[in-house]
Amino acid sequence: MTQEKDANETLDLATVRAELTERRGRHYWRSLEELTRRPGFDAMLARELPRQAPAFLDAVDRRQFLQVMGASLALAGLSACTRQPTETIMPYVKAPEDIIPGRPLYFATAMPVGGVGTGLLVESHMGRPTKIEGNPEHASSRGATDAFAQAAILGLYDPDRSQVVSSAGEIRTWKAFVAAIGEVLEGQRATGGAGLRVLCDTISSPTLGAQVRDLVAAFPNCRIHQWDPIARDASLVGTRMAFAAEADVQYRFAEADVVVALDADFLGSGHDKIRHIRDFSTRRNPAGGMNRLYAIESTPTVTGARADHRLPVAARDVQRFAWALLAELARLPQAPANLPAAEAAWVTAIAADLRAHQGSSVVVAGEHQSPTTHAFAHALNHALGNIGTTVVLTEPIAQQSMYSMASLQELAGAMAAGQVQVLLILGGNPVGTAPADLEFAARLAQVPFRAHVGLYDDETAQLCHWHVPEAHFLESWGDVRSADGTISIMQPLIAPLYDGKTVAEVVAAALGREKTAYDIVRDFWRGRQAGEFERWWRTVLHDGVVAGTGFAPIKLGLQAEWLKAATAAEPPKSEGLELVFRLDPNVLDGRFANNGWLQELPRPITKLTWDNAALLSPATAQRLGVVNEDVVELSYAGRTLEAPVWIVPGNAEDSITLHLGYGRTRAGRVGNAVGVDANRIRTAAAPWIVRGVELKKTGRRHQLATTQEHHSMEGRHLVREASLSEYTREPHFAHAMVHEPAKDMTLYPPHPYEGAAWGMTIDLASCVGCNACVVACNAENNIPVVGKEEVARGREMHWLRIDRYFEGEAANPTIHHQPVPCMHCENAPCEVVCPVNATVHSSEGLNDMIYNRCVGTKYCSNNCPYKVRRFNFFKYQDWTTESLKLARNPDVTVRSYGVMEKCTYCVQRISQARITARKEDRSVRDGEVVTACAQACPARAIVFGDLNDPTSRVAKLKADARNYSLLGDLNTRPRTTYLASVRNPSGDLDGA
């Protein structure tokens, strides 16, 4: 690698600081390497594709290579004269109704993650689902999606999914399983199921809930355990503490003027993030009613990146901060004594702001924070009068409220005590996701009969006597509640590829009432509907929601007792290093580890791909003498784990963040041996925040593939931002930053654009950098996965990337996100250098990329100032795996090697809309063409349309004062423009 680093090298923080103080005004930086001016960094940037090809390391030398190349070129020319192979057409025998070949159909369903649903519309091409969109009718998505939903298509067609029922490694049949389970359960009947335990995910499905109750009725002594690694334990316990009742909390960010996030990544994680982003972004328009977000957090998240004020505080100290805030606001008699002065200033300022917005503010605590922090947040909301307005309590969506970790602990104890004779694991992978001290694998081995239902033949399946492949949600009938309580009936888009069974079918079989999932769901609902069932059924399937099932708010009184206990003792002193475990933003607890789209998707802040790392602040890294990619040994409570280091500006001091979901051994070909398994030093007692961790250098290094340093834009005015007051004074601030040449300053003749003129705006004030658009683009445009080594060479193929910039102090920088697709320049530098006319300007202003003409000179990429062109150095696309062929969008060419590609503005969607319009003899209506990225965006930051139509949304946004062109001074006249970001900092904390 060109970036070999000296093992003894340390991070020179002094240089970073000096470099930062030298610069004046707003300045942006992308990585610490850039600031320290490490030799070689500039040279690397200067290259077009950094770290590209350590050229010819093979035995073949350059001369030989050219000879071979020449010969193959000559042959390649001749091959153009060959005929196409004969193909067959296989028509239907009896054509299904409604299917028109080449025209997709859309079906509503829902995606459950951790038992909570997101309403979706799935595009189906002749019976195979190819693309997922949000269901506009569904409160949880309102037409948008997150990265997980977008990537679910690849999950469905994953060739590594478990494909057969197996027992002790042998292929068996479903019938054999039903017989086996029937037999063991018959044995349990005498004792009322005293030895029977069932381990499942959070169940929000009314049907499955009823089935589980039936199971308990049949075996009254059995125990149901719930293990949901996307833990909401702290939130549930905290709510119980505060209100003495089981309740879920919903936030109404659209109505909140001031939001305080206490280590809460409400925009980037959690079950309701799509709705959170949607609501939150409606209040980020500087033209009116802008909200203010304070983020107190340990490691930078997308929430912190969007915040108006961000304070890095170690996760263990957030509870103290919450207490101090409550003490200040509610004038409690006891306030924490050892609050540092810096935090105290923040507490005063935030409390003043909150007090000014009683009833229209939100305090939200993070899922991995302590229950007490959650209770403090509730007390704060209660004191501010937010409960019932911006913070709404509802009955829990879980059929049975259970604390996951306690439940799993209890099961592990029972297994160790030999009390479990039969264990049914219904979905999930507890062996892979349980904390190390539960020794789940070893204890599982003591259970005489254990069966597992799951999508993968994973770590848990391997240790079970029986494994049944689970049906993917796109193959399943079922029902699920979303975070607001709305019920969706899930309908399959395709018959199970591998004869998978739903959890409901397995439970039915266990009850001795074997039935199809379709019958189970229908029979459940049939008994609960007044009126004509079939009509109701068709309506709910069509709409994707059961109308009126969203939860109404409940009223609960705040308790007082817990507060005395919580404020009685001083919080422990912050000494030593803390280790914070977080769910990975891309693979969660590891359930998506075998999904290449998610593995290769750069993490929102670190821009790491294909790995997790111990995230440290620059100062902590300097103190410990470690640099990026150093492998360190973390030890806690007698357990050790080796992990590479990644330095994150803005991380709290003395705090290490490690993401879960990696280091898996039986995830599949994609996810095996990627990253390190954080669960190996995790304990059930302190599953999220651990104090007193030891860190030791090992002297070894581990290469991490990041997209951070690629495509650097050399510190020009790329992201433009102002504070709200600056914006109010000078709305045109973004224009004042650079001089843009006059329109006619070009040697080339102008393009007339008589019909449509497609253009896009991206609102940087509302974009949170959630990555949904990037995966949506992958799915829509058949973009291949290239793997870690190729990413490390800068060869990732994403047509749309999200650049992340830092601004200001390395200890606590402001973080910016900027999505960068092809700019579709009117004066496009790429077009004029292509020797074969493979990239040309269309009459509607698109930069067309013609794959079949491209010969791979890469001149266009070389000449593109935005570095948005991607080259197929190898045959990245999988041309052989049958199941993956089903995932592809039939409307987009699948590219092979040697071809350049880039964002097309989803030209297939434009074509479709144009054809429809022309058949109806009209022009394309505004909103008829929505690009994949714009459709997925929960913040509605991306708007696409016709610039020649003055009434179109995009034309109006282009006229906005904040509209600016990226590198507009180059006179490229990009069609993609940005609305400059505006933040709303309060005067009280300026400079803080």
């Binding site: 004269c81 004969t86 067959t88 028509p91 025998v93 409307d891 030209v907 022309r918």
Partner: protein
């Protein structure tokens, strides 16, 4: 000083220079011919099919409308190959024991598709849409020829890009009134160019020649 080269060298030089040019030109011309030949384009070559279906009989002699079988031609990108069910609609009653139709009956019995050989096979990087062409007055015959006179079906035209572009650049040479799209053997009542120009204006025909029209 004596001449190094004999005078005949001049001739040899001229012959070899011009000869090379001629040979290269001929080779280029030859390659272009091969590329346009029916060997490459498959135009004019009838394909043996699993069932020797005759368009001449069905569309010509019996006068069945194109859309009876190719039912999605007005709504979708693909004209659509009829499901076996469509064949059986009639052949349950007539020729119901003909040995020629055994593959059709077998397909209906076993629920297995009839594997028709694709006659009009565009490259995978080309996206053609039937519906918009039909809607704008491009007759079936214009591209597919006199299907009503073909026993076994063949591809009438080259389907090469220059052929597509010819019509996209000069639609007036080819378009016909919308109501005559499915007519075989339609003749313009007068000058095609004149009628064509009027149709182009009346039907708002604006064929695009941008690359993204067909390649995406």
């Amino acid at each position: 000083m004596p001449q190094v080269f004999h005078r005949s060298t001049n001739t040899i030089a001229r012959v070899s220079i011009f000869g090379t040019l001629i040979v290269l030109g001929a080779a280029g011309y030859g390659l272009a011919l091969i590329n346009r030949s029916s060997y490459v384009t498959q135009a004019g070559i009838a394909h043996e099919q699993p069932v020797q279906f005759s368009h001449r009989h069905h569309a010509g002699e019996l006068g069945i409308d194109c859309r009876y079988c190719h039912s999605s031609v007005e709504v979708g990108a693909k004209a659509g190959i009829p499901p076996t069910q469509t064949c059986m609609n009639c052949h349950k009653q007539i020729w119901s024991d003909s040995p020629t139709l055994e593959p059709v009956r077998a397909s209906f019995r076993t629920d297995a598709s009839i594997p028709w050989i694709k006659v009009h096979d565009l490259p995978d990087f080309v996206y053609f849409n039937h519906s918009v062409h039909v809607a704008k007055g491009v007759g079936c015959e214009t591209c597919h020829g006199r299907i009503d006179r073909m026993n076994l079906t063949w591809q009438q035209n080259s389907l090469q890009m220059e052929w597509c572009l010819d019509c996209h650049r000069h639609p007036e040479r080819y378009v016909r009134p919308k109501e005559e799209v499915f007519t075989m053997g339609w003749q313009p009542a007068g000058d095609q160019l004149e009628i064509g120009r009027e149709l182009v204006k009346a039907n708002n025909i604006q064929p695009k020649t941008d690359c993204d029209t067909c390649h995406r």
